[in-house]
């Protein structure tokens, strides 16, 4: 009898141990950048998702390119169920078959989004930010202001401008617009771009370097990510972020479902939760960015910030939006041209 009991106990223990990994697998894995991006998504989206579904969320993190490369290597056997990345990088994911097509009937909150949020049949925008000119008020001549992108070409900016080296698209698109063109026929802006060279002091390689250069005053004028600017202003650095009359170049971070996921239904629900008006308000409060859900009740202080677009009118008059396909396909060409002609 004792032996029988022992055997039964051992069998039960084995079953319990075997059940643990099965339960542990029943989680949603989200691929995102580290640091504040992961923390914000956890606080605003993941907690609400788990509250609604009972399913835990695990984050895996990395840089934009590392994650894309990893997704490509793991094609067919994805490590994650959901991926959050920049919308034009999202284009690279789905054009390489790394995202599955979204079933919009499972994302009812999508009907409340600004039209710009629907990036493709595979990706939906989560929030927006801008790349726009900004300057240190204490380090530029008194009365200096930026009302147009053209002001970056002014003699006062000579040897003071910092631009990102990882993405020259903003200044290229704007130069094309100022020259009467657009992103698609960007070459019309080349003569103007070449005239900007004397004003460029250096090129920053990351958000951290951008902030260092602004803080130290090494580049008191920058084309910067609005979110970085808000963060530095909150630290007491006197920075003015401008929205030029031509508009600011919008960036949208998008969400997609990894091809081959075993949790497609949960992944759709995660996206739906992320686009919920209340979740969007919380997410934007954490990131200091603009919502994609037009009904999101954004804190008025946040809504006042430059580049935080909360109305259709703002999207129309203050935003320069380039479609993801054009940007994804032209970015390598732009970078090549920029490296060969503007840097070094």
């Amino acid at each position: 009898m004792t032996r029988w009991r022992l055997t039964a106990f051992a069998a039960a223990a084995l079953l319990a141990v075997a059940a643990v990994p099965a339960r542990a697998q029943d989680k949603l894995v989200v691929d995102i950048w580290g640091g504040n991006w992961r923390d914000g998504a956890n606080e605003a989206i993941a907690k609400e998702f788990t509250k609604r579904t009972g399913m835990p969320v695990e984050f895996i993190t990395g840089g934009t390119i590392d994650r894309l490369t990893k997704a490509k290597i793991n094609k067919g056997h994805p490590e994650s169920d959901v991926t959050i990345t920049t919308s034009h990088v999202g284009y690279l994911y789905f054009s390489d078959g790394l995202f599955e097509k979204l079933d919009m009937s499972k994302i009812p909150n999508a009907k409340d989004l600004f039209p710009v949020a629907i990036r493709s049949p595979y990706t939906i925008g989560l929030y927006s930010y801008v790349y726009t000119p900004a300057f240190r008020t204490d380090l530029m001549p008194k009365g200096y202001k930026i009302t147009s992108w053209r002001d970056l070409w002014a003699p006062e900016v000579k040897g003071k401008l910092g631009l990102p080296d990882f993405d020259p698209s903003h200044i290229i698109i704007v130069s094309a617009i100022l020259s009467g063109g657009s992103a698609a026929n960007w070459k019309v802006g080349i003569p103007l771009l070449e005239k900007l060279k004397p004003n460029i002091k250096t090129f920053y390689q990351s958000d951290a370097t951008s902030q260092d250069l602004m803080k130290s005053g090494e580049t008191p004028v920058q084309v910067l990510l609005s979110i970085n600017g808000f963060h530095q202003i909150s630290q007491g650095i006197p920075i003015t972020i401008a929205i030029p009359k031509e508009g600011a170049v919008v960036g949208i971070d998008a969400i997609g479902i990894t091809q081959g996921t075993k949790h497609s239904a949960a992944a759709h629900e995660f996206i739906n939760v992320a686009l919920d008006a209340a979740v969007q308000a919380k997410l934007c409060d954490l990131y200091r960015c603009g919502p994609m859900n037009m009904h999101a009740k954004i804190d008025p202080a946040l809504a006042k910030l430059p580049g935080v677009f909360t109305t259709p009118e703002q999207w129309k008059s203050e935003a320069i939006v380039v479609d993801d396909e054009t940007r994804a396909k032209l970015l390598p060409v732009w970078k090549d041209w920029f490296t060969e002609n503007m840097m070094h």
Binding site: I65, T202, Q205, P332, T339, M343
Partner: protein, 289 residues
């Protein structure tokens, strides 16, 4: 009674196998880079297209030749200045009579090795920046009114690379200096050679193996420097590794990044090949002494 004759190289196979494995892995990776270099880049895709020679034709553009020239120039200057600055430190380190002086020199010379490249490079940004240590000092002394451009210049990159390379050079030179037979120096002194002559005709030639290996090591590793030119050069001074990064991980143009990698490898090997005859001549001269 028979004595067992010991094998001449008892661990030869055991040591050879890991080396062959490492070489195999290196060659496999190199082979992959080589095949990528002949493939067509497709903008907006992570995949590559068919075979082409276009990537190789592109390296003839002035920007790439200029970056290549900069890379070689900066590497040569870094190797030379590192040698000039490290030799006295290594000499003092080996010949200091007091233990505490030796300990102090070891700490000063070797500690930077443990701080990491990024930290040291950031320190140089603080030193060379517009409001950095050097400019503030010169401004306070009334020598300048506007800050000097030290960052984002070849000068700044070379200075940071020299400081980064010094600990390794000091270790290599100190080893060479410590192997010098002091009796040779004493003999020269006894024969009437003044201290400078002893150093020039005896010590320096005897430490030439260290000088040569140190210079080659620093030249070769500066050829592949990435973080320092990336941060101190700020895109205004590009070295070949920065271009590889921009092409591969920023533009996704893996085929052209592969061509640049191969080019860097060939230039590094070619430069070392060119240095060899000079080294042999130098070694022969040293042997004659």
């Amino acid at each position: 009674m028979k004595h067992r004759v010991p094998r001449r190289r008892p661990f030869f196979l055991a040591f050879l196998l890991p080396s062959l494995l490492a070489a195999g892995l290196f060659l496999a990776a190199l082979g992959d880079v080589l095949q990528y270099s002949f493939r067509t880049f497709i903008p907006g895709s992570l995949d590559v297209g068919g075979f082409t020679l276009e990537n190789f034709l592109r390296i003839g553009r002035p920007i790439y030749l200029s970056v290549l020239l900069d890379t070689v120039t900066i590497s040569v200057l870094t190797a030379l200045f590192t040698l000039l600055l490290s030799y006295p430190v290594a000499y003092a380190l080996v010949r200091a009579r007091r233990d505490w002086v030796r300990t102090l020199l070891i700490i000063l010379a070797i500690t930077p090795l443990f701080t990491g490249e990024i930290v040291r490079t950031y320190a140089w940004i603080l030193v060379l920046g517009s409001n950095g240590f050097v400019n503030s000092l010169l401004k306070d002394a009334g020598l300048i009114t506007a800050p000097l451009s030290l960052l984002y210049t070849r000068f700044g990159v070379t200075v940071a690379l020299v400081q980064f390379s010094m600990p390794v050079m000091i270790i290599l030179l100190a080893t060479a200096i410590s192997h010098v037979d002091r009796n040779c120096e004493r003999a020269a002194a006894n024969l009437g050679a003044p201290p400078l002559m002893v150093f020039w005709r005896v010590t320096l030639p005897l430490t030439m193996p260290g000088v040569i290996s140190g210079t080659i090591v620093i030249f070769a590793w500066t050829m592949s420097a990435f973080s320092t030119p990336q941060l101190i050069g700020g895109g205004k001074v590009l070295m070949i590794s920065n271009l590889v990064y921009l092409q591969g991980l920023s533009t996704f143009n893996f085929p052209f990044a592969a061509v640049l990698s191969l080019l860097a490898l060939l230039v590094a090997m070619g430069s070392l090949g060119l240095i060899r005859p000079a080294i042999r001549r130098l070694e022969r001269r040293v042997a004659l002494h």
